[in-house]
Symmetry: C2
Subunit: 164 residues, 2 copies
DNA sequence: ATAGTGGGTTCCCTAAAGCAACTCTCTGTT
DNA sequence: AACAGAGAGTTGCTTTAGGGAACCCACTAT
């Protein structure tokens, strides 16, 4: 497994990618979310090698993004499900899906859309500010040192930033 | 470059990952966002090989996520910047950063935090519904066939779903 | 004249992904 | 009873992608 350089683990994005950014991992999570529960099913649907799938499932279980329960004994067979941690990860992927729809969809429009059961509408994910609720645009957002920042290590940018 | 299987390009997530999901790409985008503009700077900061960086920058330019402008001639030197497409991608990464903070941060807390200049607060990205504004939780969201769905191809799930 | 810098490219080597075949334990069919 | 097939992996081999280091080229500074 490719781990990002240690110095960069300072950033939450690097840590997220480290556990959920490997090849195939987001697609596996997405497929489990929308209904694939068995090894064979995921493998057939995504067309990745069984070896890599076995590997990724191990990681996802170890990270607590997926969990599995036996659905039969002799031989024991498991079904995979998202944990709460996995469901929140999927939520972040909704934002990525929205970006893909907006910027890379083919002329025909997005092949799949999301339906939000709470409001009943066809929707997409928006990334908004946890405080004011407005869209959290990159050009209106700056980085600042957090409680876990280790001065003298990590990124050389963060050290010159105002404390929160 | 690893491209996902064609059949899966039906999904926007696969398409997003195809252009922005390669190793290092999100971290490069993040670094350009928060101030790294020159090749050397990005390379030093992330510690990736120059070859891979040159490769990723080429892809990001070709995809229109980054743009570059010469800041000197003889020899010509460029500085990289995010395009609007790139800034919106960064926005999606904010959601991933929030997930990393919530689920994988060390005991000391997140090393970096975001400051939203519009409201002046320390914030994080939330993924919300474009229609009702509520958090777009995975367990309250279903997938449905979109305008670009090609029946008979792509995922076998989407074909059994209600039309929007 | 020499060293250094910025932005790459080239070469070699290792690590990870793809592919195919194999295992093992059941279940269903003839 | 014999055989085929499914489900969930594991093992081995080949190809590809990534890391490291060296090299190049056009300047600039000392």
């Amino acid at each position: 497994m490719q781990r990002t350089s240690l110095g960069d683990m300072a950033c939450s994005l690097a840590r997220s990618l480290d556990v959920a950014g490997e090849w195939w991992t987001p697609l596996i999570v997405r497929n489990v979310w929308f209904g694939a529960r068995r090894f064979e099913e995921i493998q057939r649907d995504l067309g990745l090698s069984r070896k890599v799938l076995a590997d990724r499932l191990r990681t996802l279980l170890a990270e607590g993004i997926l969990e599995r329960r036996p659905y039969q004994e002799h031989p024991v067979r498991h079904k995979y499900r998202l944990t709460p941690k996995g469901r929140e990860l999927m939520q972040a992927f909704f934002a990525l899906m929205a970006w893909g729809d907006r910027w890379t969809a083919e002329v025909a429009g997005p092949p799949m859309v999301l339906c939000h059961e709470r409001c009943g509408e066809i929707v997409h994910g928006e990334v908004t500010c946890s405080s004011c609720g407005e869209p959290l645009r990159a050009e209106e957002t700056r980085i600042a040192r957090g409680p876990g920042a280790r001065v003298g290590r990590g990124s050389r940018y963060v050290e010159h930033l105002p404390a929160p």
